[in-house]
Symmetry: C2
Subunit: 353 residues, 2 copies
């Protein structure tokens, strides 16, 4: 089998120069590079990547396990995927995309021995895929969390995110704040929805207000449905927090169709989405921007740290979303139906932009 | 080195049962599966995937080479990426994501020997990365095209797509149709922009109308800029075709800020985007939906067919976008500035939904 020395001799350069070309660590003159690449080709040197993997029983390949994401191209998803790929590449690892639709398929892929470790996206609060990961003994990190906080994870800090959103709305005088969550199959609730709901319920309890929760599909149709539900079930709400990226635009369209103006009649914050999505909508939405570009990278880092023994304890990383003011939050309107009017704060601000 | 027979003996099952577990081809009782997985672990059988790759000098790994996509999470991109991953997986291949920001980095990755073949996204009309791919002798397929149509590619058929959009607008009586393209760096024009422009220019020549082309960034700000440019430079245009997904929402917002109503003052078709994006905007945009979910899969298939010798000739696959009517196309308004009024067709239709 060809070695790097063989390549160097055939191309009539030093071993260091061959290494520069192979590892991309230094610019090499095009003509020299071409000679080295020809030698690599002639000697079939490429097989050595596989040979090295065999010798070390390490492949330096990581898997990104995700459910079928073709159907719902949410803006934050691509940021997670791409930042995880970048993070892996920067540390000399390759990221394979594994669409897995059942956990048996996942087990068989993990048993195949291609990958040194795995990242799992779209984690549910109780998740049999996580049980399979643990059983497989393949090192992993979760993007999201189950109910077991001891496992290695990186996640959006939904509790802090909701607290920040409620605080922002309260500073505009809002007391009756609704939550638009995502409708999920029974027993298959994403951790992010459960945690956002819990934080919302805590915040409402602290405010002394009954909760107003609406759950709809993460689509434009779902958003329009949410507008109707809010109108019918919670007419006294003056503000709404969405933890349902896909329903954001439909909610605004549905409210307009009902003759309700944003933010004069209802203020809106869309939590855990992108700045770009907020800008697409009229009026521009105030959003809590998801730290997806950071979290994908941190997830890759957390996994590689485990593989390379950099980190002894499982990583537990939480980052809240960042408030990006738009034009969808304004002062709370007076509502005759509000039984106990409370003092409004910061009524001087017109919008939050 | 452990063989499948060793695993079967250790787990006290048949070789076929081990194969069922490893290849996921048949359901195996959980208890039996657990025993087989334990045997695989104890015997370190995973290394055999690597050993097989060494023996065959094939890794069954494909690369998806893409520029930095973190910054612009367009809805169609995730569909391309995910459908390519699905297509590869269904044929027993793994897809690694390789973010490459320069073509030297790309050459070094290809020389590493990890992958059997490569897919390249975001192809430019003259693209040095394609030259590197050809030089690497790694089999490949392009998602998009350079000026060399002989290379293996799958692509959106932009010529047909623009023809369909122009035909749809003409059926509503529009004669003066503008094009909003994407502003690109000099000498770095994506093939899709060039081909869409060429088809548009042909269509205008056939109509006997001077072209009206505006190029802006693919962002909400770019869309608002396009609204101003159309207003200032082409006030007689009654319809516009966007080949700039990211600017779609901003264009509608910019027109509204200028007091122009869609579709009464200006009809809009957004070409090469998703149905979901059209639904997010008010009024819902008529879109030409990109065949991204099909093309990603076809690209993976085209590459694997080459690798497995199924296909002798390089694949050349073109699919047009599909018209999805929204509320953004209506009858052409009468414009006193139009010097030669021509007969209107199908004036009875109010909108195209």
């Amino acid at each position: 089998m060809a070695t790097m020395r063989d390549v160097a001799e055939r191309a009539n350069v030093s071993i260091a120069t061959v290494s520069f070309v192979i590892n991309g660590t230094k610019r090499v003159a095009p003509e020299t590079r071409a000679r080295i690449e020809a030698a690599i080709e002639e000697l079939d040197y490429r097989r050595n990547v596989v040979a090295r993997a065999l010798a070390s029983s390490r492949t330096r390949i990581l898997a990104l396990l995700h459910p079928d994401l073709e159907a719902r191209p949410n803006a934050t998803v691509i940021q997670f995927v791409m930042s995880a790929a970048h993070g892996a590449r920067e540390r000399g690892y390759d990221l394979v995309l594994w669409p897995v639709n059942d956990d048996e398929q996942m087990s068989h892929l993990l048993a195949g021995g291609l990958v040194d470790g795995a990242l799992l996206m779209e984690v549910q609060i109780r998740d049999s895929r996580v049980d399979r990961l643990v059983a497989s003994r393949v090192p992993f990190a979760l993007i999201g969390r189950t109910e077991n906080d001891d496992l290695p994870f990186v996640d959006i800090d939904f509790a802090t995110t909701i607290d920040l959103a409620v605080g922002h709305l309260r500073s505009f005088g809002h007391q009756r704040i609704a939550l638009v969550a995502q409708r999920t199959k029974a027993g298959n609730e994403p951790g992010r929805i459960m945690r956002a709901k819990a934080a919302y319920l805590d915040a409402m309890a602290a405010l002394g207000r009954p909760p107003a929760v609406v759950a709809v599909e993460g689509t434009s149709a779902g958003g329009r449905e949410a507008a109707h539900k809010l109108h019918d079930d919670f007419p006294d709400a003056t503000a709404v927090i969405l933890v349902n990226e896909g329903a954001s635009a439909g909610l605004v369209k549905g409210l307009r169709a009902l003759g309700r103006t944003v933010p004069d009649d209802l203020s809106i914050i869309s939590a855990s989405t992108t700045r770009e999505l907020g800008e697409m909508i009229e009026p521009s939405l105030t959003v809590m921007a998801a730290p997806a570009p950071q979290l994908g990278r941190l997830a890759a880092d957390a996994l590689i740290d485990q593989l390379e023994g950099v980190q002894d304890t499982p990583p537990h990383i939480l980052i809240p979303c960042t408030l990006v003011p738009g034009q969808s939050v304004g002062p709370a309107p007076d509502r005759s139906s509000t039984s106990r009017p409370e003092p409004k704060r910061e009524r001087n601000a017109q919008t939050d932009s």
